[in-house]
Amino acid sequence: MITFNDVSLVYPNGTQGLKNINVEINEGEFVVIVGLSGAGKSTFIRSVNRMVTPTDGELLVNGENIIPKKGKELRKLRTSVGMIFQNYNLVNRSSVIKNTISGRLGHTGTIRSVFNLYPKADKKLAFENLKRVHMEEKIYNRADELSGGQQQRVSIARVLTQEPSIILADEPVASLDPPTSHQVMTYLRRVNKEDNITTIVNLHFIDMAMEYADRIIGMRDGEIVFDGLVNEVEEKTFEQIYNRPIREEDLRGSENDASASGE
């Protein structure tokens, strides 16, 4: 369970990332955060694994306030909160298997990881997770030899190898074409249901949010302007969140390729 109690975040340059956020996300939920770019979606998600640090309030992850965490404690938090990025963020020149097993780094001693001495169970876990996203054929390929969709699948495998209780995905499909986007979202959705991993995804495509989410949170200017289950959402809700009429670019669709470049 994740609880935001009056969380605010001001960046050093004065930009207000989050304003008095109060929200509770339950275990096993699949939450999609929608909003325009700059609305604070990314800041919201990155607060949960403390890639950014809120300046005010209390943020409870599994009952513990994570805001004061530092050093070892912080790394321990990050091992239990996995993250998926818009640009996959794989280490380009390393192999798929090495990228995947790097999900175990938080569980592995420094010396062991430097010399690639992972326990058999870890190797097995990494391989099984690659199988789950159907990437087991390519384990010795270098990451930069893969297509965007394949790279994102490897990054899902990397996150699963962390054995997290929460997965954060920051615009995971913004750089992908529509068919691949649906594929990646399907994998995320399946992992969420099968392993009961709480999943928070940032999206700016309305139709995809509607298709995959249990619950939708809308953000604008660092504030939550909507929070509700997916069946409570109508087109008007999005117009309220975005503060403007819905446009073509807000939809991923299944064939429309024009908006594939993302934020």
Binding site: A121, F127, I139
Partner: protein
């Protein structure tokens, strides 16, 4: 499947690659063994006893520069800078035609072009000091030998860099001008030079920085500059004067690096 029975699928690694890696590793081990054992056998360990004595004797005197000699030192440092300046400028001008010769997109005949590339490579193979020895023997000791040395060594490097710049230009502009009916010289001045000149100048300035350091060495073989004084001062154990030389060189090099970096930033 039990955990401890698990094995990753085998790596599809070709035997050739493995053999190659093994050979490289083996060669490296041999080279390192050869180099380190050779060096260890050549070291005269007696320096260990004298080291602290030397340090306590010399360092305070180095740190106490003899400012009375500033006139002599400045004069020689200026000579060093002038050698570098004249040498670099000669090289920077001379390298332009050779850069065009070695640029693949400017010379129609690939053989002729390769010839130009080889010429520049040949020039770069000569270490400065070797060229300096040739020039000192042929034109006599003095700063002129230094200018010729710096000019010739920088010329090879600048020619290569220029050629790379020329190869990276936008040929569409050249084509457009050809379509306009411009002749070769017009194309050169209106389509090519504007694209390459800033980078040419930037490389020449960078080379000037390198050449200042290089021309301090020339004095070793009598080709002018401060090098002779450095060796002489150390031989006379005049540590106060050596201290002054060190400070002067650091200051001059830093000033010139600073100015040159500033100009280069504005150029590109």
């Amino acid at each position: 499947m039990m955990n401890n029975e698990f094995k990753l699928p085998p790596k599809p690694k070709s035997n050739r690659k493995r053999v190659r890696n093994l050979i490289i590793a083996l060669i490296l081990v041999v080279i390192y063994y050869w180099a380190f054992s050779g060096v260890l056998s050549r070291i005269d360990w007696s320096f260990v006893n004298k080291l602290s004595d030397n340090l306590t004797r010399i360092v305070p005197r180095l740190a106490n520069p003899d400012w009375a000699e500033i006139g002599k030192v400045t004069e020689l440092i200026f000579e060093t800078v002038f050698i570098a300046y004249a040498g670099t400028l000669i090289a920077a001008v001379l390298a332009v035609p050779f850069g065009f010769w070695a640029a693949g997109n400017m010379v129609k005949s690939p053989i002729w072009n390769t010839f130009g590339k080889w010429f520049l490579i040949l020039d770069r193979t000569f270490p400065e000091l070797i060229l300096a020895i040739f020039f000192v023997i042929s034109v006599g000791p003095g700063a002129f030998a230094g200018v010729l040395t710096i000019g010739l060594t920088s010329f090879g490097m600048l020619g290569k860099l220029y050629a790379e710049v020329i190869e990276s230009i936008d040929m569409d502009v050249v084509e457009a001008m050809e379509a306009n009916g411009a002749n070769k010289v017009q194309i050169l001045f209106y389509a090519i030079f504007p694209q390459v000149l800033p980078e040419f100048l930037s490389f020449a300035l960078y080379r000037f920085e390198v050449d200042i350091r290089a021309s301090t060495v020339l004095g070793l073989v009598g080709a002018g500059g401060i090098g002779t004084l450095i060796v002489l001062t150390a031989a006379n154990r005049d540590w106060e004067q050596l201290g002054l030389i060190i400070i002067s060189i650091i200051v001059v090099v830093m000033i010139i690096d600073y100015i040159s970096t500033k100009i280069r930033k504005r150029l590109v």
